[in-house]
């Protein structure tokens, strides 16, 4: 099959981009100080979790338990200057290896440089799940089949990656009115979501999806939809040390890993990242983030967004759907079993 020269040029550019990202990550490894390194217990075939966190003490117990239950054997985490006990909590977990840094989150590509380095060193040959502390991965059959089953099947299908869109969950009523304590099930109050209204397109040159929508687009970005948060992610990848995430886990290189979608009308397998951002803590957190300015660019639109969050908004509407089973989510077309029976 003939390949157009511009494709070759693009491919060449992306290759260099990937190399730059790897070099960056390598240079940034000095940001990280190992707090506790238990990576010696990692065995071939283990599924690894990667995450950068900051002040997530309240979410971590449930977050870790959820992904442990799915079969993540070891978590490699970077703590970016927490002061709420996150560091101590993580250091005390037997299946966590912890690195700490006070360097800038933004300057390290929102933590991706650090994780890229850890993935380069420890992720090679493993299925790696890269998620934020406010994300809970689910997928078809997740309640009866763990990630070992999923990744074994993906291996048999020669699919080295698995896409999972972020599904923003919210409570009914103002978000701060549902207090949450560490260890609670966040889905006890966060169990509403937008069943449709997710806009989707393909972004070149990497060929990744660009999905935007959900309650944040509906409520906060009606005037400037382009800036609405990106929801598509590729959190689960059979890692090779030469891979690199580009923009959070929304896209990665080499580009073939972004092809989580089928283009011939068929359905590829996919899951969802239940996004527990809208715990009651989001209100105070928005205030902090607005002054810290370590997220996104300093656009007026984001200021309005953070302003709206500090005002304790209610994201619920009459058309919101209640979270029930994965089968319901699948039949709504939010994820797909893609041939897995």
């Amino acid at each position: 099959m003939a390949i157009a020269p511009e494709h070759l040029i693009t491919a060449y550019r992306l290759r260099w981009k990937r190399r730059r990202l790897l070099a960056r990550a390598f240079a940034r490894r000095r940001d990280l100080t190992s707090r506790i390194d238990r990576t010696a217990v990692i065995r071939p075939g283990d599924i690894l979790g990667f995450s950068t966190v900051r002040n997530e003490a309240i979410r971590l117990p449930w977050f870790l338990d959820h992904h442990r239950g799915l079969g993540v054997s070891h978590f490699l985490m970077v703590d970016n200057g927490s002061d709420d006990g996150t560091t101590e909590y993580l250091a005390g977990q037997k299946d966590v290896s912890l690195w700490v840094t006070r360097a800038s989150y933004k300057a390290s590509r929102f933590g991706m440089d650090w994780l890229t380095w850890l993935q380069m060193r420890h992720g090679h040959g493993h299925w790696c799940l890269t998620v934020d502390a406010d994300e809970l991965l689910i997928y078809p059959y997740w309640d009866s089949r763990d990630l070992r089953a999923l990744t074994h099947w993906l291996d048999s299908q020669n699919r080295p990656m698995f896409g999972a869109m972020m599904l923003d969950l919210y409570p009914k009523g103002p978000v701060a009115d549902h207090p949450y304590a560490a260890g609670d099930d966040p889905l006890a109050s966060l169990h509403w979501f937008d069943p449709a209204g997710y806009g989707i397109r393909i972004q070149q040159p990497m060929g990744n999806l660009w999905i935007q929508g959900g309650p944040r687009a509906r409520l906060f970005f009606g005037a400037e939809p382009r800036r609405a948060p990106t929801l598509n992610k590729v959190p689960l990848v059979k890692w090779h040390w030469r891979y690199a995430y580009v923009n959070s886990t929304h896209s990665l290189l080499p580009p073939a890993l972004n092809r989580i979608y089928a283009t011939d009308g068929s359905e590829a397998p996919s899951g969802l990242l239940l996004h527990t951002k809208f715990l009651h803590t989001v209100v105070d957190r928005a205030r902090v983030e607005q002054t810290r300015r370590e997220h996104f660019s300093n656009s007026a639109q984001y200021d309005r967004y953070y302003d709206a969050l500090t005002e304790n908004p209610d994201l619920w509407c009459r058309q919101s759907r209640r979270l029930t089973t994965w089968r319901a989510l699948e039949s709504l077309g939010l994820m797909s079993r893609g041939g897995w029976v």
């Binding site: 209204g197 997710y198 989707i200 509906r218 009308g265 919101s320 994820m335 079993r337």
Partner: protein, 579 residues
């Protein structure tokens, strides 16, 4: 080892059924299954792939050391599609026949097989059919599956390269042999048969194959056949057995790529329903399946003839979902290229252009007559006019025009997807966002009805300066002309109807009847009441004024300058049908 181990003295005496197990992974599960069978009086001969590490084999052997009716056979490397699997089967079967004289039926299974029904039911089933060989064996013409596009050529070409690891060389070499017309001769003129690897053969049949005078000849030939484990016994059984039941007693399902489906804990009920004796492949971590089916409590079911067909529907549905997807769905798993959508949208919908300009309260009337959701102008410039003026519609779609215009295709596809089961109708016009004109024209779910030139009616009734009216009329006319050329394109797949304003108001009932019948075909009742036509007195003069100002209205049809389009009477514009 888990599971109750029975002291060797309590083992049941060896019976008429023996199992050959080919194992290569999850040996602890294979051990459980082997123990289950052995303790119930079925001798087991285990073959472990030569590539498995020594210590795991030793572990397996020591785990099963207390059982006297378990043997381990000579080990071969069993790479997929190669002779090793057949060699392993032969060696293990020979051990079975030699060491366990009581065995009448030999069941070939794998380490990832699991018995679904008590083994005594299987024994009883076989006792009723003591001379029958259960082996799927069909000729190459009848076979419904092919891997790599090869059927008969499996038997006539040579395959020195691995299909899995040297695909490029494999394909080239096949092509080369085809080109030069190379053909191996099939020994003794046997007719090649194919079928599932998992069989259950009688001692007589098996020993005839293994001890036959031509075995060396056949082995030499099949050693170079591609995937011989699916053809060696399947072919030779036809030479020696008069009683072949061409089906496998082992339930196994394959996906659209020909890879075996794996059974997990949540398949428990499904597996029970199948009434099959043995299933593969079982997920090694499926604790519930192993605990359930390897216990003796699994009895008490009626258990008739094995019926794998009962669960076929689930698998064919899964294949369909994987291969065809859900029409009209755009999401992270499915983002088809244009023309590959298998349905651009999820359900039929209706687009009305000009109707709400010509009729008063057209939306209310249409909703009442058809019982559907009737929206205003969904693509209006200022906001999305959802039915009932809602700010957020089904699926939590926002009425923000900016959000809609940011991705119009997603907006429409989402709306139709989110309202499946309830037909959507909406108004459209040249004043609206025109981005989707092609998308809708090419969508076989769309029913598009246009009264061309009707956009002039609101202008005619407006209180604008005539210069502005003329300018706006020129703009709208150009947009509608472009739209109409799209709709008239030969490639359009929507159900498209176009009238000009003059011909439409001449006889509005017939078009309305046609459209309504199409929307709700079951009702098929005559419309007794049409919506009220708006008053068009003076419209002809209005068009003439446009002409006089230098703008040529071409889409409305012929309106006489002086006369009103319809004879004015007391019931103006409310044409009750005369039957």
């Amino acid at each position: 080892m888990t599971g109750a181990s029975v002291p060797a003295t309590h083992q049941a005496a060896n019976g008429t059924l023996g199992f050959v197990m080919l194992c290569h992974t999850a040996l602890h599960r294979a051990a459980e299954t082997a123990r289950h069978w052995a303790e119930r009086g079925c001798p087991v001969v285990i073959h472990v792939d030569k590539r498995v590490q020594k210590w795991s084999v030793e572990k397996l052997q020591s785990d099963l050391a207390d059982l006297t009716n378990i043997r381990f056979s000579e080990r071969f490397a069993c790479e997929w599609g190669t002779w090793g699997i057949v060699a392993a089967t032969q060696a293990a079967a020979e051990v079975m026949l030699a060491d366990f004289p009581s065995v009448r039926h030999v069941y070939l299974s794998s380490g990832s097989c699991l018995p679904l029904r008590p083994v005594k039911e299987l024994i009883a089933y076989l006792d009723e059919r003591p001379r029958t060989d259960f082996i799927e064996s069909v000729t190459t013409e009848e076979v419904g599956w092919t891997i790599g596009g090869l059927n008969m050529e499996r038997f006539t070409l040579r395959f020195p390269f691995s299909w899995r690891t040297q695909r490029w060389l494999f394909d080239r070499y096949v092509k080369l042999q085809r080109r030069i017309g190379f053909k191996r001769t099939i020994p003794n003129g046997i007719v090649p048969h194919l079928g599932s690897q998992w069989w259950c053969l009688t001692r007589q049949t098996l020993s005839t194959i293994l001890q036959g005078p031509d075995r060396a000849l056949y082995d030499r030939y099949f050693r170079r056949v591609w995937i011989p484990d699916e053809s060696y016994f399947q072919t030779l059984v036809r030479q020696v057995s008069a009683n072949v039941e061409s089906r496998s007693l082992t339930l196994s399902k394959f996906d659209f790529q020909g890879k075996p489906h794996i059974f997990y804990d949540d398949h428990l009920q499904l597996l029970r329903r199948s009434d099959c004796f043995v299933a593969r492949k079982i997920w090694p971590h499926a604790n519930k399946l192993y605990a359930t089916f390897l216990s003796d409590d699994a009895e008490g079911q009626a258990g008739g003839e094995p019926n794998p067909g009962k669960i076929d529907r689930l698998f064919s549905k899964a294949v369909e979902r994987r291969v065809k997807g859900r029409p009209g769905l755009y999401m992270q798993s499915r983002f088809p290229h244009e023309h590959w959508e298998n349905g651009r949208t999820a359900a039929p919908y209706s687009v009305f252009q000009g109707f709400s300009d010509v009729f008063e309260n057209f939306e209310g009337w249409l909703g009442k007559v058809t019982g559907t959701r009737v929206h205003g102008h969904l693509f209006a410039p200022d906001r999305v006019e959802f039915a009932g003026g809602e700010a957020v519609f089904n699926g939590a779609l926002s009425d923000s025009a900016a959000l809609r215009d940011y991705n119009t295709k997603s907006f429409l596809a989402n709306l139709i997807w989110a309202t499946r089961g309830e037909r959507q109708c909406f108004q459209f016009g040249p004043g609206d966002n025109q981005e989707l004109n092609w998308f809708m024209a090419l969508d076989s779910n769309a029913q598009i009805s246009v009264i061309s030139g009707a956009w002039a009616v609101p202008l005619f009734k407006s209180n604008l300066n005539f210069t502005d009216i003329r300018r706006e009329a020129a703009r709208l006319q150009k947009i509608e002309l472009d739209h109409l050329s799209v709709l008239r394109n030969g490639a359009a797949k929507a159900r498209i109807r176009i009238w000009n304003l003059a011909e439409f108001i001449e006889n509005p009932m017939e078009p309305l009847q046609t459209i309504v019948d199409e929307i709700s075909p079951r009702s098929l009742r005559r419309l007794t009441e049409a919506p009220r036509l708006t008053d068009l007195t003076g419209f002809g003069q209005f068009l003439q004024n446009l002409r006089n100002q230098g703008m040529q209205p071409v889409l409305m049809g012929d309106f006489p300058t002086t006369n009103d389009p319809r004879p004015s009477d007391s019931r103006r514009g409310r044409p009750y049908l005369v039957k």
